[in-house]
Amino acid sequence: MSTDRETTRFVRSWLEEGVTALPDRVLDAVLDQVPATPQRRRFWSAWRPNQMNLYAKLLAGAAAVLLVAVVGYQFLPGRGLDSGGPTVAPSPTSAALLARGTFKLYGADVDLNATGGGDSVTGTMTVSHEDGDFSVDLKCSRTTEDGVILIAGDITDSASPHARKGARELIVLKPGSPVYASFDSEGRAGGDVMPAASCPALLEQVIDTGTQTVIGPNGLEPIDGTVELAP
């Protein structure tokens, strides 16, 4: 029987074999596509104060003065926040619908109910399948430029070999008629969604790779049922 050290040495030696040079044609193909491939920029980087020109600074200053004036007006006697008169408590507003429905996907019955958006999603998804059921506490969402909605959360309960309790689960919904959808588990052996540091990081990773937003045999499939999606 080989020892761990022998195996490690052998694996290291074996990994040294094989190609090490990227063919020029591949590099050329990349560089040919660069001019037509726009870079993605963060919102905040475009709006950092030190990048503002004088005109933008003046506008921002005027907006700040206006804001102070409006807020101050609310505090005048008989106005707004501290009028001393009867107050009306803000009525609880129902969080905005993100996705709600009951449908079949990949042979499983899915019950989805999510409100909110971004990093503040509330809701659950339960998946019932002959291999085992699981539930997901939904936490975050993203919407791609072409309107595909991705929602993820923590698997809180699972009797399914496809969904490990404690891992994150992801559902992707493409609006249309019919709605297309797919789901996958983070870090599932042989799966395609790599583990990520957080719920939003998981979704951004999936959007970056683009693998979950493609219609096809291994991607999005039409659902059987109904789902109401955020406009």
Partner: protein
């Protein structure tokens, strides 16, 4: 990596990116080939990773972390290729470990073939850890950071991957030994 080159490419300098791509292309391709074990898939994965690097460079907050970040995008691209082709085994399968002769220390063709088959049985999760640690010599902490998983997960994956490779070598070597006894 030359951080000045990275910063220029972040700002949209295509010539800087071309220099960057030349500088990292071979290394990325060597890694993708070792993870995917297929030259065509590796070329596609490397191409996609390089384009993703260009596209997302402005999002990289710390140019000094370029290397780890680029490996992360490369592993994502390897996942995508794996998904596209669906050539992967669904789970890591550990073959039974039995008493047998070990791998030829000199690395015979038969041993390399056995190792190849054992490696192909691993999921991309496990392959990536083995390649980043044993080929790139990244410490486990850096492997964890690169893949965005806890260090414990990396240790666990490495343990099971190496155990699987060792079992493959041992199990596949056994018939050869028995054959030799006859």
């Amino acid at each position: 990596m030359d951080t000045d080159l990275v910063i220029r490419a972040q700002r949209g300098d295509e010539e800087a990116f071309a220099s960057l791509a030349v500088a990292v292309g071979d290394r990325l391709h060597a890694v993708s080939h070792r993870i995917l074990r297929d030259i065509d898939l590796a070329e596609d994965a490397t191409q996609q990773a390089l384009l993703a690097i260009w596209r997302d460079l402005p999002k990289l907050r710390d140019p000094a972390r370029f290397d780890a970040w680029s490996y992360r995008l490369l592993v994502h691209a390897c996942y995508a290729e794996g998904r596209r082709t669906r050539q992967w085994a669904p789970n890591l399968r550990i073959l039974p470990v039995d008493e047998s002769v070990g791998p030829d220390a000199s690395g015979s063709v038969a041993d390399r073939d056995q190792l190849e088959r054992g490696f192909r049985r691993l999921s991309i999760d496990h392959r990536a850890v083995v390649v980043l640690h044993h080929y790139l010599d990244l410490p486990l902490e850096e492997v964890a950071e690169t893949l965005g998983v806890p260090i414990g997960t990396v240790r666990s994956r490495l343990h099971y991957a190496m155990r699987g490779l060792r079992a493959a070598l041992d199990a596949d070597a056994r018939p050869a030994r028995q054959e030799a006894v006859k």
